[in-house]
Amino acid sequence: MSAETAAGGTPAPGTTVSMTMIEAIRSAHHVMMERDERVVAFGEDAGAFGGVFRCTEGLQERFGEARCFDTPISELGIVATAIGMAVNGLRPVAEIQFADYVYPGYDQIVSEAARMRFRSAGDFTSPIVVRMPVGGGIYGGNTHSQSPEALFTHVAGLITMIPSNPYDAKGMLISAIECNDPVIFLEPKRVYNGPFDGDHDKPLVPWSKDPRGDVPEGHYTVPIGKAAVARPGNDVTILTYGTMVHVAMNAAEQAQVDAEILDLRTLLPLDLEAIVASVEKTGRCLVVHEATRTSGFGAELSAQVQEECFYSLEAPIVRVAGWDTPYPYSQEWEYFPGPNRVLAGLRRVMED
């Protein structure tokens, strides 16, 4: 998978090391801060503490307080100052502690970062990366579990990415930092430490046991806008991303359906070519995400697939998504769209 994943990006040189997704993200920071002195990293507790998930650990020690620092608890201020720094030639990588807390900074993202190039006709640009952990499955309740990707994909001017494994996470984050447009970089926190397949009662398999945890030490990129085939197949196409890639794999194995699973990786711009190629081959499509269903990114996927592949479709496109409710706490595992829900979706899409 690694080799394929890198297709279109720059090659991965040197030795590979087993990394968790957290370590991979840290490594991306490290590589880029080493190569490009314009890169700075900051956020709440991101400095000496290294972030509540430790994604920026060691950076302050290595690069000094001027390049990796703590911020006041103001997502608005974090995004806004990132924009200002970018305008003045830096390449800010800002951390929002949880995606659930990005909303105070939402105006600066959609009204400012996203439209800076447009409104000034390129006189000013806003090459920032805003990183944030997304998704549930950690008993975080309604304020530590959200998946707000659709709130970003609706906004022209933003790029929205979400990796599902350490190899991609590092290569994609490097691409994001090198990108001259603002990038929303969503990190599925449930797979920070291992490929969680939705079976919450089983012990977590660590990334060290998974080939996608083999990460090159140096600089490489995974390109923006390219999906990966997480599992090749012929009977149905599953479009998914983040944590749900692993859940979908699990369901596909259980169902013994020859499903082709696309890990979209970049949601906007979307790799429509890969999607169309797969759906035209399989004739069926299941969309899987954790975010609430209504107006989730799955709606856009469904709409585009039926627009492009209408005459290839043998059955309605099915969406498996979070219920249209806030994320509960006690009912977490009944709420989480786990393998059983994906299985049910698979059965439905294979029905006719």
């Binding site: 709440e44 507790d45 400095g47 000496a48 503490f49 509540v52 703590d70 911020t71 006041p72 608890i73 103001s74 997502e75 608005l76 201020g77 659930d100 807390y101 909303y103 105070p104 950690i138 008993y139 975080g140 309740g141 309604n142 304020t143 530590h144 269903r293 209504t294 219920w323 249209d324 409710t325 806030p326 509960p328 706490y329 006690s330 009912q331 009944e334 709420y335 049910a344």
Partner: protein
Amino acid sequence: MTVADLQPAGDAYRPPTDVAARDIMDLAFGLIRVLDDEGMAHGPWIPNLSRDTLVEILGTMFTTRAYDARMMKAQRQGKTSFSMRSRGEEAIGATTAKVMGPDDMCFPTYRQASYLIGRGQDPLVMMNQVYGNAADLNRGTQISGMYTAADLGFFSISGNLATQMPQAVGWAMAAKAKGEPTAALGFVGDGSTAEGDMHAALTFASTYRPPVILAIVNNQYAISTDEEVARGSAQTFAQRGIGYGLPSLRVDGNDVLAIHSATSWARDRALDGHGPTVIEFVTYRASAHSSSDDPTRYRPEDEFDEFPLGDPIKRLRLHLQHLGYTNDQANELDTTIRVMIEAKNDEAEAIGTINTGERPPLSKTFELVYETMPAHLVRQQKQAGLQ
């Protein structure tokens, strides 16, 4: 950790409650204290409080500390996923709970368990919430510690920092519009003052002058970051209020008498129609930020011992001794409370924990989104295997 300008107990003057904000700007830079290190009360801020009331407050603090410790243990045992304590800062909630009236509304953070206990909440009810079990009043919708209690004047705690502050102002605007003799009390942490919500709260409070108390609990830390990261070049957090022309008091947050007196002053001011007050309570977060945090990574382990304002429980005990309430009596009270907490916990665990017993049904997840469940949720609920 910085506690600037440690004024001696009894030193700060007490202005009339209708004073103009600009005439008391210095109070934002000082520190209103009543109890000295020997537990003696001094100066114009000594409140008129019976010994019984003080013992009640002590009891609330004991209860909170025992409760917190028990819930932390439960978290370590894997019976809940999360735990947040208020060790070292129990005085603030415990005391203000006694000041506010029955129809007032407190807009708390997760650090005000002592307020809820001080209002008379049964720890069992709180434990059920922490365990997210079938008896949880929140019906499993919130992580541990995010209580709600409308009947006790305790607003639903939000996981999103500082959002409650402008809501408290709105609540008070409604009280003023309705002409009701009530006040709102909003709490926010030092770190959270950086959110835009705090600015909205201060601005709207400044413009409409409703009966609201905006209380900043400066416990020296956000998560890993020192309070200075939010305070910046200002000397104090109370100072923020000056910028909005609001009377701003800086108060020893580990001194029950000072807290009571300052909060009463602000509430009287509010009910008399003189508008909002900003109060900074200076205290210390003696425990980790939460069960997910490891404070040894960012501060000396013995820092609490060095904290110049001490431990609020010890300080009130000392004061009570001067009033004839002995150490033994206090110990007995503490022991009774610990036993009660253990018993309540057994009860709660018997109902259920995060992974045992009965949990609120998934149907609640669907039922609580709207007053009437719309068709799409009815469908989804069916898909979820319900009904």
